[in-house]
Amino acid sequence: MSGELTPTHSPQGTGASFIEQVKQAQPALAPVAHPWLACFRAEGMERFAKAGLPTTRNEAWKFTSLRGLDKLTLSPAPDAKSVPVDAIPTALEAPGPRLVFIGGQFRADLSRTQGLPDGVLLDALSAQMATDPQGLADRMEGLLARFPGADHPMRSLNAAFLADGALLHVPAGVKLAQPVELVFLAPPGVAAAWHPRLLVLVEDGAEATIVEHHAGQPGAAYLSNIAADVAVGTGARLHHYKIQREGTDAFHIATLNTHLADASTYDTFVLNLGARLARHEARQVLGGEKIEARVSGAYAIGGDQVSDITTLIDHAKPNCTSREVVKGVIDGKARGVFQGKIIVRPDAQKTDGYQLNRALLLSETSEINSKPELEIYADDVKCSHGATAGELDEDQMFYLRARGVPRDVARVMLIGAFLDEAMDEIIDEQVRAYFRAAAAAWMGTERA
């Protein structure tokens, strides 16, 4: 039995030149003094040099080729301190706490961390490296210990370039009234690579909401390679939403590891709209009993975009529920990838798992690769999954038009209704409305 999304890689797949490039780019980073953190970087480099980039010969990457990534400039973005920013995306009506990163670099002047309850730590990793490297190292070590053997070449690459990112630590019993927004923007016209790290600790009985924004402009071939480590404590609740609107020449790769303890709730949703290639790879370890995990997402893509949502829901203990709804709209020559694996380990009796994957193909040349995978080792479980792909319903189109609704509007109504079924999974109403509006805006530009 394997809990890995990505088994060990062989380096022969990707050119040694890429690994050379990576090695050359690394010294451009500011050095870290703390031995554990320095070691973390060095080990990341070592592991990546061994593994190389995943190739399509690897089962977990069969549908998503990183070809083209090896042609990117991998040096870090130039100093982002003076990059002008005209608008910072927000899903919220009232300004709340947020961290803003430009080209992977923290911008304190654009961020807000005041007003949080006592004991809550929200800060940039670069700031923590300077002020409390030991505390940071301890937290990271504690987080990583929850995911033994979770090796992944893109996480190794991320580790090799550890320089900045976000840390949110919510102590036991504390409930954050406002969502925390984490905003990652690409500096316009910069071809570079950044590797933000996201560390989230929500301790026993605590509650928080995170909204990640990832955005950029077309015209720059950059790589945003995020790695996240998330731990949700006993009885704690975390709502974790992400909207990805990277520039259409960019690569966006996110690998998330989330550990859930007894009776916790994890409600996560990803909306993929941007990037030339976006892979959102999320692994949820249900490490306790009576956990409720909601792992859903949607995407709307066109042109020659690729959107890959790959998830692993790992039921290790009894009496847990997981629910996953992923829907996508694919136009032009774009391609959607969904790989959804659910493991129910021998101990995980009374597991209730539900998975639905649906794709709406808007053109003859659009494509969906869907791979639902159920590995069930317990005998008293309820697991269902379904996958469909289809076109817009002609009868529905005719009905709407026969009442006077113009073809374009009818199309948008039906696409919106299709995506709404996924968006309904988002518990937070503000975020749901914001994501819906973003999808509607996508439909507006697709129509133009």
Partner: protein, 253 residues
């Protein structure tokens, strides 16, 4: 002036001729019924008039309110005032009745050069019309036809007609799947819309509906053509004799 003038209309599906020279004229203020056996081309006629894809017009013309109807897109026909009440209303999950009807009405108003209704004005209108059809607010908020019973779906068609106020309403087998109570409600809704400016074409297999929506003219459609035209008494005659006179055994119906 006639509201709609269908001349020598031929239409085929997948190369098979279904309509073989239909001639039919309806004036404003008139209610016409088309009766006919299964397979006569009744539904084809309604779909061809509404503009559904998949039908090839091989001959003939349709003039609607002075316009060449066949040259118009589906939504342009609706905007011009043509309304088809579907035999099988389509379910649209995720789109509420209210949203759907508001889009439709405002699109039609735009073509007419009228300003769009805002949410409040629209709600007031739809509530009043729904009440006439014994429809609840809850039904307006529900997704289009999703979870509706057969009768509710047909009432929903009547509601749309009442909101959109077409010049010509085509009712395609509106009685199918309705019990007598539902039929009465729908017929009442349709009768309310009878006016000197509006024409109606009621397509039905059975005479029953015509007890409630009494036509001015009755046509018999069989073998893709209008075979006979008469007054409302023709419907009763057909009910008694069947369609055998037109060379078709109705035993299968």
């Amino acid at each position: 002036m006639s509201l709609i003038e269908i001349k020598n209309l031929h239409a085929s599906v997948d190369g098979k001729a279904i309509l073989k020279g239909v001639d039919l004229t309806i004036n404003a203020g008139e209610v016409h019924a088309i009766m006919g056996p299964n397979g006569a081309g009744k539904s084809t006629l309604s779909y061809v008039l509404a503009g559904r894809e998949g039908y090839e017009i091989t001959e003939g013309s349709v003039t609607f309110d002075g316009q060449d109807l066949l040259a118009l897109e589906v939504e342009e026909r609706a905007a011009a005032g043509l309304f088809l009440a579907f035999q099988y209303p389509v379910e649209i999950p995720g789109v509420t009745n209210a949203t759907f009807l508001k889009e439709a009405l405002n699109a039609i108003r735009k073509t007419r050069g009228e300003s769009p209704l805002d949410a409040m004005q629209f709600l007031k209108l739809i509530r009043a019309k729904a009440k006439d059809l014994s429809m609840t607010d809850e039904m307006i908020k529900r997704a289009v036809n999703v979870g509706f019973s057969g009768g509710e779906k047909k009432r929903n068609e009547a509601l749309q007609m009442a909101v959109l106020q077409p010049k010509l309403a085509i009712l395609d087998e509106t009685d199918s799947g309705l019990d007598i109570d539902a039929l009465k409600i729908v017929a009442e809704g349709v009768n309310k819309l009878r006016s000197p400016e509006r024409g109606m074409l009621v397509i039905t297999h059975y005479q029953r509906l015509l007890d409630y929506i009494v036509p001015d003219v009755v046509h018999v459609l069989a073998n893709g053509r209008i075979q006979k035209t008469g007054g409302k008494e023709l419907a009763l005659e057909l009910e008694a004799k069947g369609y055998a006179e037109f060379g078709i055994s109705d035993a299968a119906a």
